[in-house]
């Protein structure tokens, strides 16, 4: 259907998209202590080193703490706002929506710098609270968007039907609305968690040695060393994220999570 030129074009684009990941993956298995492509001899040893390196271990732990808190808080806040935006008419609705989505427009380093100055001003120690607060702002638009789209797609007649059958508003929410929104909520949370875990620019400003997340730890590492343990870590990143998304797809349906499929 595409013809030979079309097929080649599609393959070329796919190759181009995959290329950087492929290069890094191959470099991770290089036996030599340099980041080089293609490797001449092969080894798993950089994986062992990456997993054993203290800064990476604590970075990973910190990242998980920050990501889970930030995405959970963003989910709560984003869901509340998504409901308000979808269900109610109120003054300045568009303005509020624009503000909530503004971190898509404001560069990450600006947000990071802002939080850094703010935290210094009010005398906050550079602990997890600042990092989490910063990440909430960063991921909120994505959660808001995801839940908002799910709400839009939710046929309100389900809720009306439940009410007609004697369900109070609280029971409608618990038995109909939230279960039907679940894919959107989980999808929004997952997206937020992945974004937060991978976030670097703003994190560089707001993290301290004690709270540095994995991307910051990797940046600090690469400033001093240039061995393939970075590449090995990248492979682990990719594998972990892919596993997570595969599981989400299996249990929830990625189409629903990303809202690309019309609900039946």
């Amino acid at each position: 259907m595409l013809g030979i030129v079309g097929t080649l074009a599609v393959l070329a684009i796919l190759g181009f998209v995959i290329l950087p990941a492929a290069v890094v993956v191959l470099a991770a298995f290089n036996d030599k202590a340099i980041l080089a492509f293609p490797p001449e001899t092969w080894s798993w040893r950089w994986f062992a080193k990456a997993l054993a390196y203290d800064d990476f271990r604590s970075g990973c732990r910190n990242g998980l703490i920050v990501a889970s808190w930030a995405s959970s808080i963003a989910l709560l806040v984003g869901t509340a706002f998504a409901f308000a935006l979808d269900r109610y008419a109120f003054p300045l609705k568009r303005t509020i929506e624009a503000v909530l989505l503004s971190s898509l427009v404001v560069p990450h380093f600006t947000i990071g710098l802002g939080f850094l100055m703010l935290a210094a001003q009010i005398g906050w120690a550079r602990g997890f609270a600042v990092v989490v607060a910063c990440h909430v702002v960063l991921v909120l638009p994505f959660v808001l968007r995801s839940v908002y789209v799910s709400l839009r797609n939710l046929d309100q007649r389900f809720e009306l039907a439940a009410a007609s059958l004697g369900a109070s508003p609280a029971r409608v929410l618990g038995t109909i609305t939230l279960p039907l929104l679940l894919p959107g909520l989980v999808g929004g949370w997952l997206l937020a968690a992945i974004l937060s875990f991978n976030e670097f620019t703003a994190s560089l400003f707001v993290t301290a040695q004690r709270t540095q997340t994995l991307p910051v730890a990797m940046y600090n590492y690469v400033r001093e060393y240039a061995d393939p343990s970075m590449a090995a870590l990248s492979v682990l990143y990719i594998v972990a994220t892919a596993t997570l998304l595969t599981l989400a797809n299996a249990y929830l349906g990625l189409g629903k999570v990303l809202n690309v499929e019309p609900r039946r």
Partner: protein, 403 residues
Amino acid sequence: MSSLAAERHSNGGAGAPTTANSDDAAVRLLRASKRFGKIIALEDATLSIRRGELMTLLGPSGCGKTTLLNLVAGFLVPDTGEIAIDGKRVNDLPTYKREIGMMFQNYALFPHMTIADNVGYGLRMRGVAKPDLKRRVAEALSLVRLTGVEERRPHQLSGGQQQRVALARALVVSPKVLLLDEPFSALDRNLRASMQIEIKEIQRQLGVTTIFVTHDQSEALSLSDRIAVMFEGRIRQVGSPDEIYRRPADRFVASFVGDVNVLRGRLDRVDGKAIVTLGAARISVPRDPLALVHSGDHVDLFIRPEQLRFANAGEPIAVEATVAAHIYQGGHVNLYLEAPEVCSSHILVRSLEPDAIERWRTGTRVGVSITSTDAIAFELEPAQPNGAPRSLKGKEEKSDAGS
């Protein structure tokens, strides 16, 4: 004004009601109005629905029928007026306390629940104990003749089966009133007919008061105990299907319900009776709609196709017309005639003759006579002096829209 007039048309109606409390009324609306911004969705609706009755709200889209249904369901609150269920004012009662059952146009079956859970939902909300709940769910499903699907999900069922589930779900809670919102529009023609019969049977068997919303006039005529015809936010007439069909209150009702020919006649008042002359034919019609018309003035005579036939020798000919088109319908043939001086569109005549198409070929001049004394006439419409426009196409759309 028009709602009061509408009440007068209901058979045995006790005139204009003054209170929402009435013994035999399961649902009662008293001068209920609802606006959305500047749009008046429902104006001054007064309607009383008797216990066990199937009342149809019939009208084109935007006529206010769905608004009225939503007011009864409690999805909307009236701006003015009163709504009562079982003699109790429910204006401020939220939907979930109204003890209604509703079947939605798309059925709105909960996609994340099994069929049994869907049907049992209303009972769970009422705190019915499990063994009792299970028994009642099974009873409801067997009532709608659907068993063995308890553990399936809604999307695994066909459209007709989904409708049965929706009906069972609405009926299982023994509602005070059953609300049906265009329930047949998503079904194909054959299934629609059999589901209509079944729902009517179940409704009669249970004696549940039912409000049924549709834009399909043939559906309304065949299912209803009474029909409320609505147009532009107002109830124009309430009556039995026969009354609505044979004694329409106004031009709109006459042309919306059933096929009708609008022919230009002349009023000839004799001894207090209203007689309309059309060609050589003289037809007696009700006087009320013609109160403001003088003898000798033109009027629009509304005649059903089955009241017209090709004149036999010696019969007074009402209209001389030319055959313009045939539409073969299997059991009968629709013949469309042209007579520009009395009818601005086509005159529809039905013929049961198998050789109708050969006998009355296109272009043939024919004489049409009027077989019935049961016609009705209205004064001319100021805006459209040639009568309500009625094209072949418009009629087809009306009966098939929304399917």
